[in-house]
Symmetry: C2
């Protein structure tokens, strides 16, 4: 009997009607003969509301208590899903992260899963029931409630699928799959039937927010087939699987973009070995996630170092740089939040060197200046002015014939 893990995100369980629709789909899946483990997020904006409440109450917010607070959201949605399943005659039992045996490290608000002791879930399955598990949460070895950070419910689902040896992990969301570009910008964007784990990782990392980076990584490492699909249309979505011969034929799979990045430039850095290392070590120590880095040619013995960070990290990142100016002997720090990244992702790039040239030609033809460039073996990213990003996405989508 096949075993499916079905994960339902916040929009999929946003209200009573949606919860009943989810229960109906789980019941239908059961009737096909499959065993099902359900993983749920908190309803709609519940987690945001709880975060808001915490800010109303407290300036300090110890992270252990933040986790205790936020984990209430899934507890609500999972018990409601079980009730709706009971109405349909499906025996379902809800499990908190702790009850589901999701053991994490003690890094509150961004815990990592150490182990899954899924005995209770296996017992429920063996008894013909449907375990409904709280996503996003676990318990540390010290028996404190932890949460897994952004995209944590996807991580829970993929980790459970791996631990239980599930045949697939279905990620239900409010879009119908992974697209060749954001359909809001490119109306002729195409839903992709299959992408490889590697492509999905690059798509997720470069702005395609359908699946969280971390869960795609976990799925790849444990060879869990992912199926990203809509809980509104229930139509087949995008499979994320091992790369195969058929995929390699595609030069470029998707154009992605990300407007949430910002640029920091440290000017007048003496051109001496070790200074850049000092700078990026300090940023790392402050949990600032640096993505692209550009260091221009040295002029009069000094150089300008630019790098991009998530917009949320801009302030901290700039502060860290300013604090290091004396030590580095650099002259100034400037920031720029009006940048955006456009990326091309495709497993075929590995063997087709022409992609870079066509990318540059396309952007040049649109009069778009490229401020920074970074590449991987299956991705090219260009930093452009944020007001140019939509034109860039549309032009590249057309140039590579992705529609």
């Amino acid at each position: 009997m096949p075993l499916l893990v079905q994960k339902y995100g916040g929009t999929s369980v946003a209200d009573a009607d949606r919860i009943r629709a989810v229960a109906d789909h789980v019941a239908r899946t059961r009737r096909t003969g499959a065993d099902v483990v359900v993983v749920v997020s908190a309803m709609g904006k519940t987690t945001d509301d709880l975060v808001h409440l915490a800010f109303e109450v407290s300036r300090t917010q110890p992270t252990r208590e933040v986790d205790m607070l936020l984990s209430a959201g899934e507890r609500i949605s999972m018990s409601l899903v079980c009730m709706a399943l009971a109405d349909l005659g499906v025996e379902a039992t809800s499990y908190t992260g702790s009850q589901a045996g999701i053991v994490t490290d003690a890094a509150h608000t961004r815990a990592k899963i150490l182990d899954i002791r899924a005995d209770r879930l296996r017992d429920t399955l063996a008894g013909g029931g449907v375990p409904v598990v709280a996503g996003f949460q676990g318990m540390s070895l010290e028996r404190n409630v932890t949460t897994l950070g952004r995209g944590g419910s996807d991580t829970t689902a993929v980790a459970l699928a791996a631990a239980l040896g599930a045949d697939a992990c279905e990620i239900y969301t409010d879009v119908s799959g992974v697209f060749s570009a954001d359909p809001r910008i490119v109306p002729e964007a195409r839903k992709l039937n299959r992408v490889s784990y590697e492509e999905m990782l690059e798509i997720a990392a470069s702005g395609g927010r359908v699946v969280a980076l971390r869960s795609a990584e976990f799925a790849r490492n444990h060879s869990v087939p992912l199926h990203v699909r809509s809980s509104f249309t229930w139509e087949p979505g995008t499979w994320i699987v091992e790369e195969d011969a058929q995929m390699e034929a595609a030069l470029v799979t998707a154009v992605t973009h990300d407007v949430s990045e910002a640029k920091v430039t440290v000017a007048g850095v003496p051109d001496r070995p070790g200074l850049a290392a000092r700078l990026f070590r300090a940023l790392s120590d402050h949990d600032v996630n640096v993505d692209m880095i550009v260091q221009n040619a040295s002029l009069h013995g000094t150089t300008d170092i630019s790098f991009t960070v998530p917009g949320d990290d801009l302030e901290v990142g700039a502060d860290v740089c300013r604090g290091l100016l004396p030590e580095l002997g650099a002259s100034s720090v400037s920031t720029d939040a009006s940048v955006a990244r456009v990326s091309l992702v495709g497993a075929g790039m590995k063997t087709h060197p022409g992609v870079t040239a066509l990318t540059f030609e396309t952007l040049a033809r649109c009069g778009i200046n490229i401020e920074m460039i970074s590449t991987s073996s299956i991705r090219i990213s260009c930093m452009v002015r944020s007001e140019a990003v939509e034109v860039a996405v549309r032009a590249l989508h057309e140039a590579f014939d992705l529609g």
Copy 2:
């Protein structure tokens, strides 16, 4: 060092301001040198909102899932209280019922506490911290989340006070203590400084809703001194303690009333032994809580049996009776929701037989008909028309000079 358990009800933690006020009071109590264990209810109407949500989603509502759902409320309030305490420099750690070691039976939605394994709370206290515990909830031996039913947070607080050997259990609420009558009806009602456990039990059972009956019973059985007081004025409230000589001097302590009861009459019951037993066994089997029972003198070999039930049980109670009519050979069932109970409670009644007479005289003088009567050694209750109850309460409060 004294140890206090402080329980804060839903109105005491209803919003961010109230939560900060609670944290401030806990911090002040700590500065007096006392150790504190905090027990919290869910914020304001949270539990009602969750119940409403369950009704929106499901007709069946398995009780295990109801408990999982409802237990989310305290999780929210307790973590917010800990955050507010952290702002004040007080180290606080939240514990769910399960984490606090509150072991219950498996009777979901109305579980009974079997054991308290408070090692984690003791460790937190030993480390100078304040444990903040979710009221109303526990965990069964099968490791399922349970809730303790109405007034469950008070039960949690008293049970923890007993298990930890606390010097007192403070119940913070939105009234400033136990009064000689409901101040909304009797403006000159007096706050009682001390009442005995027995009096409190009778007051709670007869409509004085300040402390839940069950927790007063638990407090008596474990000799836990209770202090009922206001989290809005923070003034000293009412102590509930062992009866002492001073109290016995008071003939009557309080007048209480209850408009939530209803009356059922089964008419034309053959006057044969065993029929009443059959009737009340059937009601008990349907969880209908019968309070007063009156059986009038037999006329022509048949009798009328009247009894009172909580208003919520009226429909079920009447249905049970109707179903038994053929078996009992009785003629009809009638119901009356327009009744109310007025009671006098006082430890002094035990040794002063005149209370009954003065009660009847007072009600007669007001032209109030007594429909049913029940008494205990320290209580007299009279069932009257509900529209007469306020007049009755005021008259009795004055007649016994309670102001």
